[in-house]
Amino acid sequence: MIELEWYLGVSAILFTIGVLGVLTKRNAIVVFMCVELMLSAVNISLVAFSSFMGDVHGMILVFFVLCVAAAEACVGLAIVIAIFRNNITADISKINLLRW
């Protein structure tokens, strides 16, 4: 039997990798991928808890998260395309109009 802690550890590591990616990557698409990674890590954690506690509520929440992730990815990519059209770059460190 794989213990619960292992699942949570995997989830935590994946989440951390996702956070680091969001904070450091310069390509907008890669940042989105890392955001999806973060969401997936949370899904793993939810499923693990649901399975080990016998409570089905966790799985239902996973469905919600998946839906929202999909919608959010669509909207975000649409914004990236709009930025790309104006600035010809997908490098988000170059989008700094609100700078001092």
Binding site: L23, I92, S93, I95, N96, L97, R99
Partner: protein, 671 residues
């Protein structure tokens, strides 16, 4: 009781409404400003209706009527101090109310004709109504605060009206001068008010006069003196009179109303109102009398040398006000009020008459320009006038009648009031400080002589002889065809005022005129009317002395008039002026230079204050005050420049901060 007295607040409210109507409509609507007859009518009615109300209140009163106090609402309530808007109807305030609204309505009517061609017509009438409102507050108020409100209000209106043609720098300077000198006096008045409040805890007249014993003699002296200093500012006495001649820069109806009939008499009203306090300090009364007497003679000597007709009348006003203060200082409060009333009649008539003359001279200048003659002259300079009596008969006759009044020729009004003043001064010469009062009496008699002399100089030079303009300026030949009489809206008030100047004296014919023949009658109506509200000093002179004084007054007036006729009639004016100049030499120069009061103030007060402001206060303002404010801004900018690097504009920076925050919160929750 007097049912009409309850409506006294209407007397105050209606001019205010007139001001608001003309002011707001004139300010907002271009089309309204063109409706000059409507504007003028509204304004005149807004003063005439109060006159009718005051008159009916007056008819419902007797000399024994109690004072009626009409309280409108509580204005100030601050701790233990409270003050109401309440108006007092008593014999003294009603007399002043009659003068203000009566002469005021006549001058409003006159202004309808005089200011006809002026663009700011609506503003003029709005200001005039505001002035009447403030002046009525002054005379009808039942406490010192409301009086002071009116006091300041008339000062403001005086400023607005003197500087009415503010495009001319000299005129707005004159307005400023009037206001600043008034303010100096007001400061003294304020301190007097503080002293009163400190002693009795209230500024209501009833409370003050019921508790006169609470005032120590020192405090009474200072209050009296400080109030008098306030009066010297408002009523143009030494040392604060220098604004009045400059105030002639305003339109002539303003000079007539404010600087002859009403505002300048507020100082005399104030002292009469406080007569019961003044009789407790003979020292303060002496100071009042001395300053009044000195002002009278000094102003009279200056008037002798002036050629601008309005300046002569201005200095004449200062001199006559000096007479009134001389009366107050000698304990003749009723005599002073009598002179206020008669002076309002004849001086307003004289000013309006001079306005009529100036109006015509302006017209002459315009017509000459119209016909291509480039002629420039001062339309107020009497040396260009002369012979106007056949072109302007109404103006001439009313002016002449008023001149007889001011000269003190019997039985015109000025004779009775001036004679009563002289009697009181002589009477004071029998009491404490008698020698000083007798000296003042001598000065007053001399001033009366000069008054008649310079006033006839003015009248004869202006109206008799030949018209001098074409003689002095060759291009203006034939200019007399442009001379014309003024319209009826201007001559009607002249006739009414002249009539009052002739018969007005009969309200105060002294009792001894009949009692010295054994008839026991009280023919002095004004004395009986005001006796209950003022604290006149009793006249202790025997009948023989009184008759001698009357005879002396008549002799002075008649001799001065005859001398003036001999010297100034038939174009002898220039020669006479030159002869006087030669006779008095450097003294004449002193008179022409107005005793150098303005120059003295310039050197001793104005220049030091200006230099001090420039060198010290301006530097303080720029370096210290502005520097402090700028420094605060500088500090904010400094910290801003440090903190602004947080705003990189890159989203990931913000995300990093976000994550750090989350970590912090979670660690705080765990630990």
């Amino acid at each position: 009781m007097n049912p009409m007295a309850e409506y006294v607040w209407l007397v105050i409210a209606i001019p205010l409404i007139g001001f608001l109507i003309n002011g707001i409509l004139g300010l907002s609507f271009e089309s309204y400003r063109k409706r000059k007859t409507l504007i003028g009518s509204i304004a005149t009615i807004a003063v005439f209706i109060p006159f009718l109300i005051v008159f009916s209140i007056f008819m419902g009163m007797t000399s024994e009527s109690e004072a009626v106090v009409v309280k409108l609402f509580t204005w100030i309530e601050a701790g233990s101090f409270s003050s109401d808007i309440s108006y007092r109807v008593d014999q003294l305030s009603i007399i002043m109310g009659l003068v203000v609204t009566g002469v005021g309505s006549l001058i409003h009517l006159y202004s309808m004709g005089y200011m006809k061609d002026d663009e700011g017509y609506w503003k003029f009438f709005a200001y005039l109504n505001l002035f009447i409102f403030a002046m009525l507050n002054l005379v009808l108020g039942n406490n010192l605060i409301l009086l002071f409100l009116g006091w300041e209000g008339v000062g403001v209106c005086s400023f607005l009206l003197i500087g009415f043609w503010y495009g001319d720098m000299a005129k707005s300077d004159a307005a400023k001068k009037a206001f600043v000198y008034n303010r100096v006096g007001d400061f003294a008045f304020l301190i007097a008010m503080f002293l009163v409040f400190k002693t009795v805890g209230s500024l209501e007249f009833d409370v003050i006069f019921a508790n006169l014993e609470l005032f120590s003699s020192d405090v009474t002296f200072w209050i009296a003196l400080l109030m008098f200093i306030g009066a010297t500012g408002k009523s143009a006495q030494i040392p604060l009179f220098v604004w009045l001649p400059d105030a002639m820069a305003g339109p002539t109806p303003v000079s007539a109303l404010i600087h002859a009939a009403t505002m300048v008499t507020s100082g005399i009203y104030l002292i009469s109102r406080f007569s019961s306090m003044y009789v407790l300090t003979p020292e303060a009364m002496l100071i009042v009398a001395v300053i009044g007497g000195l002002t009278a003679i000094i102003a009279a000597t200056i008037a002798l040398t002036q050629y601008d007709i309005k300046r002569v009348l201005a200095y004449s006003t200062v001199s006559q006000l000096g007479f009134m203060f001389l009366a107050l200082g000698s304990g003749g409060f009723i005599a002073a009020m009598f002179h206020v009333v008669t002076h309002a009649f004849f001086k307003a008539c004289l000013f309006l008459g001079s306005g009529s003359v100036i109006h015509t001279m302006h017209h002459v200048e315009h017509e000459l320009h119209h016909h291509g003659k480039d002629v420039h002259f001062d339309p107020q300079d009497m040396r260009y006038m002369g012979g106007l009596k056949k072109y302007m008969p109404s103006t001439y006759w009313t002016f002449l009648l008023s001149t007889f009044a001011i000269a003190g020729i019997p039985v015109f009004s000025g004779f009775f009031s001036k004679d009563e003043i002289l009697a009181f001064v002589f009477n004071a010469g029998m009491g404490q400080y008698g020698y000083i009062y007798l000296g003042l009496w001598g000065l007053a008699a001399l001033t009366a002589f000069l008054t008649a002399f310079y006033m006839f100089r003015l009248t004869l030079t202006t109206f008799h002889g030949t018209f001098k303009l074409p003689v002095k300026i060759k291009e203006a030949a034939g200019a007399e065809k442009y001379l014309h009489e003024s319209p009826a809206t201007m001559t009607l008030p002249l006739w009414v005022l002249a009539f009052l100047a002739v018969v007005g004296g009969f309200m105060g014919v002294p009792d001894f005129f009949v009692t010295s023949f054994g008839i026991d009658a009280h023919i002095n109506w004004l004395h009986g009317w005001l006796d209950g509200v003022t604290s006149d000093v009793p006249l202790v002179l025997p009948y023989s002395i009184k008759w001698i004084l009357v005879a002396l007054a008549i002799a002075v007036a008649v001799s001065a008039t005859m001398l003036a006729y001999r010297k100034y009639d038939n174009d002898k004016g220039e020669a006479t002026d030159a002869a006087i100049q030669e006779r008095f030499g450097s003294l004449y120069q002193v008179w022409t230079d107005k005793y150098n009061f303005d120059e003295a103030y310039e050197k001793t007060v104005i220049n030091p204050v200006a230099t001090f402001s420039d060198r010290v206060l301006a530097v303080f303002d720029i370096k210290v005050v502005d520097g402090f404010v700028n420094a605060i801004g500088g500090v904010v900018r400094f910290f801003g420049s440090l903190l602004r690097f947080m705003q990189t504009g890159v989203i990931q920076t913000y995300a990093i901060v976000f994550v750090i925050g989350v970590i912090l919160v979670i660690s705080l929750l765990i630990l």
